[in-house]
Symmetry: C2
Subunit: 331 residues, 2 copies
């Protein structure tokens, strides 16, 4: 006989499997979790839903757990904050038991432990599909949080890592007959790496913290460079001029998409990179590169902040590219 586990059994199994249960006096098991006194802090929430953000056929449960935390860590990274704790609200479909709760917990826990994040507990409710809504809190940086609104004309525009790989990975998973996925078929190692960018994004927490005394503005790239750059431009009241040629592209992306301009445009419209887009005074360029080296994170200058509004993307012969749309989670 399989007894249906209770809500508290499921959440306890999840927290224990994460290996990131908090030490007393923090912790689950009461009506709320207790946090010690803290300085200024940052909090954020984001949800991952089956059928909207992932499918069970292409994401393992540990992947789902890890990504649900990663997308939130990325938001704190963009503020330069140091993540400290998370709370998890699980929506679970019928048949989802202790084994599944533990798999989810292990995936989330691997990333939580690596980032010093305590899994305080949470809540379980029945739902039509699997969902994880994760709230993350952490210490605001001593120099004050990095905002979207600090970019000034004359600043350089920078981005971390490489762009477009998560979009390419999604194509490999969902549309393997598309030209891009088919071209990559001859390079299974590169295809796997792109798929991992989609399933297991890296939040740039260390880089974000290192940038707090250096960068003038910052945002994380969840909806694609083109769209997120326009959020930063609007918040700062400036225009961003970005040279597509300068976008950092992986070898996988350059092999998958023929033509440098087309590859860069694919990357600029690709969602879920979870890289950081930030601005800094030109005089800070050496400190930016040093922050990248210290945190083992590639950083690339891709453009300039000028007066005006919006984002202008230029191709390799200097033409402005329009009609690039980001990834809209609601579309």
């Amino acid at each position: 006989v399989h007894r249906v586990p209770s809500e508290s059994e499921l959440i306890e199994a999840f927290v224990r499997a994460s290996g990131a249960a908090p030490r007393p006096p923090l912790g689950p098991g009461d009506d709320a979790s207790v946090l010690p006194a803290q300085g200024p802090s940052c909090v954020t929430v984001d949800a991952l839903l089956e059928g909207v953000h992932f499918r069970r056929s292409t994401f393992s449960l540990p992947d789902v757990g890890a990504k649900a935390l990663a997308v939130n860590l990325s938001d704190l990274a963009a503020m330069g904050a140091r993540p400290r704790w998370c709370l998890v609200a699980l929506g679970i479909p019928r048949g989802f038991g202790l084994t599944e709760a533990k798999s989810l917990g292990r995936g989330l826990g691997s990333l939580a432990r690596g980032n010093g994040v305590a899994v305080l507990g949470g809540n379980v409710t029945r739902a039509p599909g699997l969902s994880l809504t994760v709230t993350v809190g952490g210490d605001a940086p001593p120099a004050g949080p990095l905002l979207r609104s600090g970019a000034r004309a004359g600043d350089e525009v920078w981005v971390s890592g490489t762009l477009g790989d998560a979009r390419l990975g999604l194509a490999c998973l969902e549309r393997p007959r598309d030209a891009a996925a088919r071209r990559l078929g001859a390079h299974p190692g590169l295809a796997r790496a792109a798929v991992r960018r989609q399933q297991r994004p890296t939040a740039r927490v260390s880089l974000g913290r290192a940038l707090t005394p250096i960068a003038t503005a910052c945002i994380d790239l969840s909806d694609g460079l083109a769209q997120d750059a326009s959020h930063l431009a609007r918040a700062s009241g400036v225009r961003l001029r970005i040279t597509l040629e300068h976008l950092p592209l992986s070898r996988a992306l350059r092999l998958a998409i023929a033509g440098a301009d087309r590859a860069a445009q694919f990357a600029a419209a690709g969602g879920e990179d979870y890289e950081l887009l930030f601005t800094a005074r030109p005089s800070a360029a050496r400190r930016v590169r040093s922050a990248g080296r210290r945190t083992a994170t590639p950083v690339t200058a891709i453009g300039r902040v000028v007066r005006g509004h919006g984002v202008l993307l230029f191709d390799s012969i200097g033409r402005a590219v329009s009609g690039l749309e980001g990834f809209d989670h609601l579309a």
Copy 2:
């Protein structure tokens, strides 16, 4: 042409309509919200899902918004904490636009403002049905949080308000042909009040804070007295002896359910009351009553803490009643 509003437009409309947007430096609009330095704090998360916790045909959007916050405020009330802020993750079905987001925000905001809670912002994602996952944080009480684990043999068991009304209200909404709902049909004012207990529960925030130096243990009643009392008994390593005759019942419940014992058993198994169940030394009884008066909250002694484990409920002729099940959100 109806343009689909963006995620940020929806969450901004929600926050603005709440009338509880935070003053700077707190606030939405960046990658995360910033909170000022604070002492020890309590955080909790809970979700309200269409088709699981409510139906759109019986709950208005303001009801849904208010209840999603209330169930979380109730968790903080049980810790004696002072709620300060909330973050909201919305799952929205197709066709859910700015008008609907504002209605939700108004409902949540009415309760947020009344409790001094800032609505920091949140997140919107497409979902098959409407859902609100609310994270609430607040100041832990100076005397330390009220826990489930502090009850000792000899303590008295108390409960706030009246029990069973939310269950009765659900019966009126969902099963109007049931005997209980039909009997109440002759008293439309009382039926409406029971329905309001289901749609708009009251979180006992002031009482919880007033009890922090008085009560030895506390839990909020979300799954029904019988079940939640057993959580408190287990956490404290004691047995709770509860006299059904002493349960505080509304006039509506006494009219709807024939027989005092049956009415009390209905109440003891009724979920979603969001009252506080707590224990205190017998010598503290006057202070408990005074806390109830000061916060305009009825409090009733309903039993005793003894050695042992579990919960024993006694009917009017002193027989132990068994087989009472609480309300299981996962069942």
